[in-house]
């Protein structure tokens, strides 16, 4: 079992090396010329105005909030899905109550307008 994850670790390390190989190549062979205008950020030709780091509407946060709660719900679906066949009827009803409670959450977010983009 540990061997499986040894493979995954090697896959990640060697993969990172292979992905950064082209970056090494361009660092070695690419030309260097640094006149200041080149480093201006791109705003379709208009000189940039103000800071890029302005704040944003709270809706971004609401979407990631509802996402976290539903992603956490999926934690409990995976183990149940694996043993659902052997556990029988009772487990199915337990899981159904779990899902119904969380669909209530989705309905609340929907009614409350947390899913509206505007």
């Amino acid at each position: 079992m540990l061997l499986d994850w040894g493979y995954v670790a090697i896959f990640a390390l060697v993969g990172a090396a292979m992905v950064s190989l082209p970056l090494l190549i361009i660092w070695l062979i690419s030309p260097r010329s640094d006149y200041p205008q080149k480093f201006e950020t791109y705003e379709s030709g208009v000189p940039t105005i103000g800071q890029a780091w302005s704040q944003f509407h709270v809706r971004y946060y609401l979407f990631s909030l509802v996402f976290v709660v539903f992603d956490v719900e999926i934690i409990y679906l995976y183990p149940w899905a694996v043993v659902a066949r052997s556990l029988g009827q009772l487990a199915f009803w337990e899981m159904l109550t779990f899902l119904v409670i969380l669909v209530l959450g989705l309905l609340y977010a929907w009614r409350r307008g947390a899913l509206e983009w505007v």
Binding site: V58, Y61, V68, V69, D71, I75
Partner: protein, 102 residues
């Protein structure tokens, strides 16, 4: 072979780092990050005990899953509080949030 003591020492260090972040950071979001580190340290202990002390019942790993769920809920509600505070008080630095009501 790393035994139980190794994992306990490591989680104690991680817990201390998280506690240090919570106690000394001014920005509320960084305090929440410190809390996440402390919860991770507790999770390491739970899973280590599950392997070395009580392997049969899988209680440690179940508890770790519950802790991960509650950490997600805590982060969600905590950051919602930080946003609400930021909206009314225009600041996220906890030492500037010292008025009950004005």
């Amino acid at each position: 072979m790393p035994g139980l003591a190794h994992y306990l020492v490591l989680s104690a260090l991680l817990f201390a780092l998280g506690l240090f972040a919570v106690v000394t950071r001014r920005n509320a979001v960084t305090i929440l990050m410190g809390i996440e580190l402390m919860l991770n340290a507790a999770n390491i202990n739970l899973v280590a005990f599950n392997k070395f002390v009580a392997p049969g019942a899988m209680q440690g790993q179940i508890f770790a899953l519950i802790v991960i769920t509650l950490a997600a809920c805590e982060a969600a509600v905590g950051l919602a509080l930080v946003l609400a505070a930021y909206r009314t008080l225009e600041t996220v630095y906890v030492d500037e949030i010292n008025l009950m009501k004005w």
